[in-house]
């Protein structure tokens, strides 16, 4: 499958060396005593499916860690990487046909959608929680079945999308940091626009960035899609306020944001067309690694999304969540694999080499050197401690996933921002659409 050329081999060698250094520093991660006894079935082999890499070391170290598992246990493991758009469809086929990969690292909601077809993972999750100082808020939220203590997923990590901004531009606008109040934040964006260094947030059909921004608009005004019981509550006074605010903020953006996809803001920011946006650490990562844009990286910093009326920054984290299917013939081998990948000897190098792209869900990894390696990424350490998730405040289920995938919130905000609908009409329309998915 892989043809390894000399040059690749050299690259791999260098990568392996760096990874070896990262492995030594793994001892810094504090651990508690805990044991997990899972006799691996003889002759076991596993197939793993996960989303394609966004940053290169993600795949390289993941494969390397898998290789280590293979050497230590003798279990043959094959890892397939598929596109982000395709993984849910492939998970669905796996679940429906009862064949295919043993373990899928899907998106946060996926184990909740396919819960009937999954093996409970409480033993692995409790072991990891005990050994590594407990799970962070979103780790627990996405890992456990709604309203129970039964784990159905092992969250591997999440990537949050805080504000990414050019320090010089914000400073020139008269602000030392990103303000947390709505009016000051709007003022900052207006001043940036006036200075010809505008902000830009997408309300296009962009799964990650679009939902992140629309959710922030509504959550930071105290609105929410559904209440704790999954009853649709989007058509509220708070939402209307959020939509009015969205229309004002939209005027300060760089043109074209209504058609932006997930990569557009990265491009616009790298090309110095946009000076304030929201994105995962990947943007900074790519700026920093490219000599042509290193100057931009030096002027870049991160800040949590403005709180507004919310008690904590209203942001979630795009989480990859591992699930083990009942059709697997080697469940113990699969569980051992999941635990192995989360152990510090494997997990910490992965975390470090990805520069925290998938921020850790287990508290002990707060001590990972990666978070001290660059002060500009320290803020991502608590990504998995964000208090929000898609479909907040409701249960994590198919309806929440559908509303996200169908851009219910995004299109509500976009319709108002584009001046196509009044805030009241847009909120009513979002309510009508959300009710379709939350019909019970």
């Amino acid at each position: 499958m892989h043809i390894i050329r000399r040059r690749t081999a050299l690259g791999l060698g260098a990568g392996a060396l760096a990874a070896a250094m990262a492995r030594e520093s793994a001892a810094q991660i504090p651990v508690a005593d805990a044991t997990l006894k899972l006799p691996i079935e003889s002759g076991a082999s596993l197939r793993i499916l996960r989303p394609a890499r966004f940053v290169e070391p993600d795949e390289v170290i993941f494969r390397e860690n898998t290789q280590r598992f293979q050497q230590q246990t003798g279990v043959q493991v094959r890892v397939d990487f598929v596109g982000w758009e395709d993984i849910r469809a492939q998970t669905a086929v796996t679940a429906n046909t009862g064949s295919g990969p043993d373990v899928v690292l899907g998106w946060a909601e996926d184990p909740h959608i396919f819960v009937d077809k999954l093996v409970e993972l409480s033993d692995v999750a409790e072991y990891l929680g005990k050994r590594y100082g407990g799970w962070k808020f979103l780790g627990e939220k996405f890992g456990k079945k709604n309203g129970s203590n039964n784990w159905i997923g092992i969250p591997f990590g999440g990537t949050a999308g805080p504000i990414v901004y050019r320090e010089s531009a914000v400073k020139a606008a008269g602000y030392d940091a990103i303000p947390t109040e709505h009016d000051k934040y709007l003022d900052l964006c207006r001043k940036l626009k006036a200075a010809g260094k505008p902000a830009g947030f997408t309300l296009g059909n962009a799964v990650g960035d679009g939902n992140g921004y629309a959710n922030w608009l509504v959550w930071s005004h105290g609105g929410f899609l559904v209440d704790e019981d999954g009853k649709v509550a989007i058509n509220s006074k708070q939402t209307i306020e959020a939509l009015k605010y969205a229309a004002e903020l939209q005027k300060t953006f760089v043109p074209g944001t209504l058609s932006w996809s997930d990569v557009s803001n990265n491009r616009a920011y790298s090309a110095q067309e946009c000076f304030l946006t929201a994105n995962g650490v990947s943007l900074y990562f790519s700026l920093k690694n490219d000599p042509a844009t290193a100057a931009i990286a030096a002027d870049t910093n991160h800040a949590p999304l403005p709180k507004g009326l919310a008690p904590s920054p209203p942001q979630s984290a795009l989480t990859i969540n591992a699930m083990l299917f009942k059709h697997s013939r080697y469940p113990n081998a699969a569980k051992s694999y999941l635990a192995f990948m989360m152990e510090r000897e494997q997990y910490d190098p992965w975390l470090q080499k990805c520069l925290g792209y998938w921020a850790h869900p287990l508290n002990a990894y707060d001590k990972s050197p990666v978070w001290e390696s660059d002060p500009k990424i320290t803020g991502f350490r608590d990504s998995m401690n964000n208090r929000y998730w898609n479909g907040w405040k409701g249960p994590i289920n198919q309806a929440a996933a559908s509303s996200t995938a169908e851009y219910v919130m995004v299109q509500m905000c976009a319709a108002v921002a584009a001046g196509q609908q009044t805030p009241e009409a847009a909120a009513r329309e979002a309510e009508r659409r959300a009710k379709r998915y939350y019909r019970g």
Binding site: E85, R88, A89, A92, A95, N96, I113, F114, D116, K117, L203, G204, N205, V207, V254, P255, G256, T257, L258, S259, W260, S261, S264, R267, A268, A271, E273, Q398, A401, S402, A405, E406, Q411, A414, A415, A418, Q420, E429, R433, R436, Y437
Partner: protein, 318 residues
């Protein structure tokens, strides 16, 4: 070689067994020969189509089976403005793009039908937009229409200084719709042009010579000879073109994903969006099923409207 010798020859041919006779029986033979094709059609065409129609009447979601809910999906769609926007844009997109493709395609075909140097090479080049994988050309157009990095904006603003601001191709409803239609026309022209070129070459040059002798103008030759004789192939090509355009998916999905605010969703992209990423498999199937009447209508229209003998040969309807 006498007559007597031939009568002496005795016919020794044996009567074939019942099995051989059974298989030599024409109806059975026909049935057997059709069997593989029927099997293929049933497995790969009828079954998926039937399954799709069945799904449209259930409440299946990805990850869990569904129960029969009758027309509930269609009732919901009937009052869903997003669905009606998609229906409108599908029809509009198909109509405008087809007219554009045929006008330009016919023109191109007429040009290519002349004697030109490097004729074969030119024809091959003309086919390029069509043989490029759709997704690749879609991505190229995606860049062309990018709000920040569009080559068109760059030329207009930074090179020619005709405008002050970059064009926002995909950011609002109508510009996005026209941009997609332009991309579709660009892609569809070669197919039409090459098919019509094939049609043009079947027209006997003697007809044109006779018309020339009668003093017909080029326009008369075009309307009186070329168009009527091209009509049968035009009908077929148009049927195909309408079906391809109406069911287009890749261009729209790769360039706008149906945005901004669902204004460029075609029925095909909306069906996928609802069915796969949205998880509402049944609703997606219902949208797909709703496309069938439009396609049947379009096919019948082009067939009966354009393939009539009256059009082709100036005779009465029959």
């Amino acid at each position: 070689m006498s007559v007597a010798a031939s009568t002496a020859w005795k016919n020794v041919r044996q009567e074939p067994g019942w099995l051989a006779r059974f298989f030599d029986w024409k109806p059975v033979l026909v049935f057997c020969c059709m069997l593989p094709a029927t099997g293929l059609l049933l497995v790969f065409l009828t079954y998926p189509l039937g399954l799709g129609i069945w799904l449209a009447f259930t409440d299946t979601m990805i990850g869990r089976g569904g129960a029969w809910v009758g027309l509930e999906n269609f009732e919901y769609l009937a009052e869903d403005p997003v669905f009606w926007t998609a229906v409108f844009y599908s029809v509009f997109y198909t109509a405008v793009a087809t007219v554009g493709k045929f006008a330009l395609g016919l023109w191109l075909a007429l040009l290519l039908n002349n004697h030109l140097p490097f004729k074969s090479l030119l024809r091959a080049i003309v086919l390029l937009p069509w043989i490029t994988p759709t997704v690749l050309s879609a991505i190229a157009f995606w860049w062309i229409y990018d709000p920040q990095f569009s080559i068109v904006s760059y030329i207009l603003v930074d090179v020619l200084h005709l405008r002050n601001t970059y064009i926002d191709f995909l950011g609002s409803t109508w510009p996005a719709r026209w941009s997609l239609i332009a991309a579709n026309v660009w892609r569809g022209i070669p197919f039409v042009a090459i098919c019509l070129l094939a049609g043009l070459q079947t027209i006997s040059p003697s007809l044109y010579e006779a018309a020339l002798l009668d003093g017909a103008t080029p326009w008369q030759r075009f309307t009186q000879i070329t168009v009527p004789l091209l009509m049968p192939i035009l009908a077929i090509v148009m049927t195909f073109s309408i079906i391809f355009t109406f069911t287009d998916f890749q261009l729209v999905y790769a360039i706008t994903r149906g945005g901004p605010v669902n204004s460029t969703h075609l029925m095909a992209t909306l069906a996928f969006q609802r069915g796969i990423p949205g998880g509402q498999l049944a609703e997606g199937a219902a949208i797909a099923v709703s496309m069938i009447p439009f396609l049947i209508f379009a096919t019948l229209f082009t067939y009966f409207g354009m393939a009539r003998r009256k059009w082709q040969q100036g005779e009465g309807n029959d």
